[in-house]
Symmetry: C2
Subunit: 328 residues, 2 copies
Amino acid sequence: MNKQIKIGIVGYGNLGRGVVSAIEQSSDMVVEGIFTRRAPESISVNNPNLKVWPISQAEAYKDEIDVMILCGGSATDLPEQGPQFAQMFNTVDSFDTHAKIPEYFDSVNKAAKDNGKTSIISVGWDPGLFSINRLMAEAILPVGETYTFWGDGVSQGHSDAIRRIEGVKGAVQYTVPIKEAVEKVRSGMNPELSTAEKHLRVCYVVTEEGYDQADIEKKIKTMPNYFADYETEVNFISEEELKEKHSALPHGGFVIRGGQSGDRNKQIIEFSLNLDSNPEFTSSVLVAYARAAYRLNQEGQAGAKSVFEVPPVYLSPKSAEELRKHLL
Amino acid sequence: MNKQIKIGIVGYGNLGRGVVSAIEQSSDMVVEGIFTRRAPESISVNNPNLKVWPISQAEAYKDEIDVMILCGGSATDLPEQGPQFAQMFNTVDSFDTHAKIPEYFDSVNKAAKDNGKTSIISVGWDPGLFSINRLMAEAILPVGETYTFWGDGVSQGHSDAIRRIEGVKGAVQYTVPIKEAVEKVRSGMNPELSTAEKHLRVCYVVTEEGYDQADIEKKIKTMPNYFADYETEVNFISEEELKEKHSALPHGGFVIRGGQSGDRNKQIIEFSLNLDSNPEFTSSVLVAYARAAYRLNQEGQAGAKSVFEVPPVYLSPKSAEELRKHLL
């Protein structure tokens, strides 16, 4: 057996915990340690053997860690950590601020290239697996339309927006693809659909005593950007019900391309995900790409990459020969 | 604009015709000519500007053709043509005799490497896109099961087997995924299913006068390997109906992985195809991978590759920057 790939984890929230679980399923990898901005002794880890170090000491582990998985957020953590860690480590991250991807890529690319490291950015399912499917479907069927639907799944941003309304004690918002829209797309009709025509917003809300629910419902449904343009359903429930039925973080969605080949033959390509745990799945994807980052670096392919530039073979612990024999 | 990639086509059956159509949708490519074993003047091409040459003259076009797409069959054509053409051209083919892939890969690899050419083998949807999805889903969710379903679609081999029965004038066999099995798999139950428990065989048969249909039905249903182990439905229809309703070559199917992450969270990945024309879709995939073969060769990556070793970015006519900006 080859040596195990030694993984470092930066940040120990939902994503970091998911990375630990995913690596437990991967015999070719091992968690070397977790780096945190919090006091290490305050972190309760899901495995007592895990070591937790202050993030400021990361540099000391430069020669011990093969790939650092960056589990911070895209708003403030990654723009700083991405290029910083790429100077010292091979890295993988889930940067998902779409508009800033080119800029982020450039800054990570420079840091990685200058230091002979390999960094794979924007890894997960969207951006990530969905992106790969959009690219491949469009390349294979150049005449056609691609549609991305998200859900059923919890949108953290929309749930937070409801919670900011006065009188709201708790709230969870599900993004739900509209069935009729999905069916039209699957049939190859290639309809014109705005994001609002593709998705429904379903809210479960707990109110404080003494507030008017009709008033809160109106405030939700008319909230600009978040709900005003969408068909929105608001359900008021008890705090117990919210905890019991809406504490999980399911998600998923589909990428569908309706294409046409030859003499008007319809060709439909669909990729879909149905996830009990959104963060754990993202972590599973990060771990597979950490394997790829390590191997690309071993081959001398330094610099930043997106999932578009990574051959599938690098994701699997199996050899190319074995894969051709059994999975091709 | 970069120069157009010049494509040669070896063999002009359903697949070759589909390649011509697919290239008409791709402005970065052009068909240089078709090579055939038949008399060139006997070939009726779907575009009067297409040139048709005898296959024996292919070598003369060594320096003019960037990629040769081999559209012959896996039984006898490709085992010979694959290594032969890989000595002179970059090639792409749809070799699909599963058990012989390692041997075929080795023979093409040697020919291509010795001559600085790049050959991508076993391209299409299965083997091909389905294989990529099997690999990636397994790498991302190592704990789980992968299922491949085929259909609804015409199986040429099974249709031929029925036609060989005495008294059968015409026949088409559809492979149909069994709904209950698909639903179980989609739900993440990960049931144990044999190929026969996953697929139904639906046959449309035209008989000659004077033959007993009950007898023919029995012969079909008890035919070893092809039907005996399957639930098989036989429908006798008229010759007109067979022509009218069963002349197309639709196909499709799904690859589903039911995985588990963290503390028993179910994670389902599905890739599916719904194709009006099986050969045209395979051709569309071949053309996208021809683009990849050309680019890999430009970068000096000689030898044989499977779809596993090709980064998605090479399939698209767009640049990596453009793709990161718009599709990631």
